[in-house]
Symmetry: C2
Subunit: 382 residues, 2 copies
């Protein structure tokens, strides 16, 4: 080692894990068929219900978030059902891919990356086809930082026999999202986002309306079978060996979240997001999202700057791990996260590393001004 290299994780997943949550994983393992584990599982479920804003059971799956997305599809639909996917980026596109793999007739609203999709457009779209069984959307599209009017979509779908299925993976806990009040029928989360735990767990809840679909669903499923998970939860357990250590970590992290309180946690994310965008604006850089959210900020690489080289400097010279952009937009933008266990100084670090990197690459701006703009807003974070 040539110098002291402290590493900073400022990516939208995995997000940093609090020290107390890391330490939890170092305790000796307990068995999952014990009252001790059952108590932990139920406590985690109640914590997840709090963040989801729901009275429905929230199931813990040992899988990436993608597993929970597949679970949403295979438990509610049948082959040749017609569905509508609002595809605003890599993760919206994943809904389409999963549905088509299961021979679901998938109509897609294909947005430009970052483009908004107001409720009115959804109303028009739905008026064109009366066979739609489900609308798939994304609370916060991790590939672009864009957020969508999930509450508005829920109002449209409430009285209809259409399921409202939402990928909340990177938005939950960072911005308002109330499953029950917003008429969401299937909602999904992931441990490595606001939940402050390493990746490996995903979360899924079904509304009473979604359960009626589940009874009719004929798609094949085994590991992701929600009815089996429901039966097991009745016995305070999971159908298969769960990721015990991650679940105990989640219990600890939910203590942290409950101590802060959901409202304050969302406010904190909002402040960090606005501070980040104020810094970026000072650099005269363009945001990718028309309607940017609290979880992350995606920023266009300015012309004349090589985006991959910029990331390389951020990662390997400054040891600040922000995210790049994903295919088919590789190198075109970068993403700074303000999701999960992030303090105001994580924003300062990210912006400072960005200032130094861009400056080094010959991009012209007044050094220190972005930080100054961010600090003005960060003062709001109590």
């Amino acid at each position: 080692m040539m110098t002291i290299k402290k590493k900073y994780l400022v990516s939208p997943g995995p997000t940093p894990v609090p020290e107390s949550v890391l330490a939890e994983a170092a305790r000796p393992l307990i068995h999952h068929r014990t009252p001790e584990f059952s108590d932990a599982l139920m406590e985690v479920m109640r914590g997840l219900q709090y963040v989801f804003g729901t009275k429905n059971n929230v199931f813990l799956l040992t899988s990436s978030g993608t597993g929970a997305m597949e679970a949403a599809v295979v438990n509610t639909l049948c082959a040749r059902d017609e569905v509508l996917v609002i595809n605003g980026g890599k993760f919206g596109n994943r809904w389409t891919e999963i549905c088509r793999e299961y021979h679901i007739t998938t109509h897609e609203v294909t947005l430009q990356w970052g483009q908004d999709y107001p409720k009115e457009k959804l109303r028009q779209e739905l008026s064109l086809n009366s066979n739609i069984k489900a609308v798939f959307s994304t609370l916060s599209e991790t590939s672009t930082g864009a957020v969508y009017d999930i509450k508005g979509y829920g109002e449209l779908l409430k009285q209809k026999e259409i399921l409202h299925i939402v990928d909340g993976i990177s938005g939950l806990g960072a911005m308002p999202c109330q499953m029950d009040d917003w008429n969401i029928d299937v909602l999904i989360g992931g441990s490595q986002k606001v939940f402050m735990v390493p990746p490996g767990l995903s979360y899924i809840a079904f509304s009473p309306k979604a359960w009626t679909f589940t009874q009719k669903s004929s798609l094949p499923k085994y590991y992701f079978n929600a009815q089996k998970a429901q039966q097991s939860l009745g016995k305070k357990t999971t159908p298969y060996s769960p990721a015990i250590s991650l679940i105990l970590q989640q219990r600890k992290a939910l203590e942290v979240i409950r101590e802060i309180g959901l409202e304050k946690l969302i406010k904190h994310h909002s402040v960090l997001g606005r501070a980040c965008r104020a810094g970026v604006k000072e650099l005269s850089l363009k945001l990718i999202a028309e309607n940017p959210g609290n979880a992350l900020t995606a920023v266009q690489v300015p012309s004349g700057i090589n985006g991959l080289k910029l990331l390389d400097i951020m990662h390997h010279k400054h040891n600040v791990y922000i995210a790049g952009s994903q295919a088919p937009h590789k190198g075109e933008f970068f993403r700074i996260s303000h999701l999960g266990y992030m303090s105001r100084f994580d924003m300062i670090i990210a912006l400072s590393a960005l200032e130094m990197s861009l400056s080094e690459m010959g991009y012209e701006f007044e050094l220190g001004e972005p930080i100054k703009a961010a600090e003005k807003i960060l003062k709001e974070d109590l």
Copy 2:
């Protein structure tokens, strides 16, 4: 707490995790799209190849072992294919359940729990049906402790256009199993067994013959798609956010395994298994498995003793967590594990707790004799 309660985990999954492996999970999280993580992933893959006895890629799935079992089915077969399942217990039965969920025509050899199934019987069975596309078997049936002649089955299937699909979850590393030499086409493992890591990861490898089936397989799959995993592995990564902390723990645990060496590790398991059975024999108790293996020993509860009460005393009075028997045989037998990070003294503890519990329940035997019988064999463990 009324007294000092040290807890002992002597169950066949999860198995105890070495202290150095627990500590690994307490380190700050790294991002999975980094050279640092790619190096870890490839190192783990090479370690898994060593234990699997294969040159094939071994894929890491973020799921329980059941997820890998489903992956074996959906990646190789088509609906209405005919397959044969050797069902010797709860986990053999799981192969049947998964296959039938995917509308595979599933012929089942239903064994008594613990019953052996010699190679010759498989030969006869196969001679009755020339349409069989795959034979599903279990290296070590965790519900009974029985092991099967996987090497012999492989000899039978070698020259045929039939896949040899083996659940190695609780046997791998505890007893010989060489994927390439034994003609196994799909082999599965799980992190919480001999691999000495908490549950949450499963492992799967495909032979070149299995890959030809994969190209023709038409079953729907997304999260468990092996071809996508193969493409990602070419880029030293995984298709979806992996359970990073568990993978780093697996790297550490594989160091432990490599240091011991596979041959010696298997010998150690063999000694512990024999010592356990010698102790049980001294208690005049009957084994469930005709052909018991090195991973665990399942023992019939003697008449006059309440099996659930026995477990309760073991768990809550002695704090020794052995496993019970699973439905539909609940309460009929118990299972002592000698799998994974177990020392000779874990066997002494398990047998001692068993002696004290049975004695307390009025079962008659010479106290201390089971331990004595075990010690005679444990002396072989170097």
